[in-house]
């Protein structure tokens, strides 16, 4: 029970001041919740001030410019306790949010990320041969990704502008086998909700750092047969 803390809190809300912290019990918290509802329901009470929007825009521009130096920027602008706190808690908050969202959540603050998320890595086995994975007539431009397995290689083949393309069918995070989600046009990993575009780029993940894109496989079409450059496996003579 903290009648004074509650009275002061409600008073501050009514006067439009920042309310002061205290430790409410259940019923006091319920009254605060109702008081907040009442304040928020007032006509036009919740429109942001134009000055605030302009000021925040300026701060974000500073952050974008000095990317990486955010902590320093925030401290330099010091004012309220909250602003100082941003420097330490922002990254943590972002990380928590990243885990909470199933989609998106692709972090861009790792310097090497730009290269690794581009699906340019191509699988080139040291000892390889062209191996049949599908009949040309089976793979048409209908957006379907056809799974295949040749020896130690698992992948998906499909057509892009009439040309056959293939990507690895194994998740680059921890090696789970992907499946093709046709309605969403993406390859999904059942292990950690990672998903990849048909071209192998990471679309969504729940991990602290984005996994690598899927390696592309080299493909050719000969006499009605789609072939992938796959590693030679022991049962086949090189």
């Amino acid at each position: 029970m903290n009648a004074r803390g509650l009275r002061r809190y409600v008073d501050d809300l009514l006067r439009g001041r920042r309310p002061k912290p205290f430790r409410p019990d259940d019923f006091e918290a319920a009254q605060i919740r109702t008081a907040i509802d009442l304040k928020a329901a007032g006509m036009g009470a919740d429109a942001p001030r134009p000055e605030f929007l302009t000021d925040l825009h300026r701060r974000l521009a500073e952050q974008a410019e000095g990317s990486g130096a955010t902590g320093a920027t925030v401290h330099k602008l010091s004012a309220s306790r909250r602003q100082v706190m941003v420097g330490t808690s922002a990254a943590a908050a972002a990380a928590v949010a990243a885990v909470a969202v199933d989609r998106l959540v692709i972090r861009g603050d790792q310097p090497s990320d730009a290269q690794t998320t581009q699906a340019d890595a191509e699988l080139t086995p040291s000892e390889a041969s062209w191996q049949h994975v599908a009949a040309s007539s089976d793979v048409v431009s209908d957006g379907v990704m056809h799974p295949f397995e040749v020896g130690s290689l698992i992948g998906f083949v499909h057509r892009v502008d009439g040309k056959a393309e293939a990507v690895s069918g194994v998740c680059t995070h921890q090696g789970c086998r992907l499946w093709f989600d046709k309605p969403d046009d993406r390859l999904r990993c059942p292990c950690h909700s990672t998903s990849f575009s048909p071209a192998g780029q990471v679309l969504t993940h729940q991990l602290p750092i984005s996994p690598k894109p899927l390696p592309k496989l080299q493909v050719r079409e000969v006499d009605g047969s789609i072939q992938v450059l796959a590693p030679v496996y022991p049962s086949e003579p090189a």
Partner: protein
């Protein structure tokens, strides 16, 4: 290696959903609903401005512009949820209000921003006349206690007691409705 056509098409990209051109576009398009979403849950400008600032400072840095508009919005709402929860932990030691997880539903829809007006309407309906009047005057119309007392034809001391009791009863009604 082998006969690989050098003119292989570029990797297929999904471009069916809209995307933002840059962080400024993200900010312009989302600042208002993020602020309103937070204001509806803290009820005062100072906290709403601080928390909105924190959301954008935290969210824009790691944000990759290849995300779709819907994904960016879901991400901003998720960040706001985290920031609000931290705010309550620090100030009152308990989660007084929260931002519900609505998956990929549009967070800029009125229903997602706030259901306070509907809740308040229902609560006020359930209150005796003088209780309803004092809450309307004080909270919705931002009238002073002196003003409100005069309006209701009671003393200032009585108006204070009335407001205190009205809020208690309103909270009881509100909580009952929640369940």
């Amino acid at each position: 290696m082998a006969q690989r056509d050098p003119a292989t098409p570029r990797p297929l990209r999904l471009v069916s959903d809209g995307r933002y051109a840059d962080w400024e576009a993200v900010y312009r398009d989302n600042a208002t609903w993020v602020y309103r979403t937070i204001f509806a849950r803290v009820g005062n400008r100072a906290d709403a401005e601080d928390l909105t600032t924190e959301v954008f400072l935290a969210a824009l840095r790691p944000l990759r512009m290849t995300a779709t508009v819907a994904e960016v919005r879901a991400y901003l709402r998720a960040t706001a949820r985290t920031v609000l929860a931290a705010h309550w932990r620090e100030t009152l030691g308990r989660e007084v209000t929260s931002i519900a997880d609505i998956g990929m539903a549009a967070p800029d829809a009125e229903d997602a921003i706030s259901t306070a007006p509907q809740r308040v309407h229902a609560v006020l309906e359930a209150l005796p006349d003088n209780y309803r009047r004092i809450l309307e005057l004080r909270f919705l119309q931002s009238r002073s206690i002196k003003d409100s007392a005069a309006e209701l034809g009671v003393t200032v001391a009585n108006a204070k007691v009335l407001q205190h009791r009205a809020l208690r009863l309103a909270a009881q009604v509100n909580e009952k409705d929640e369940r």
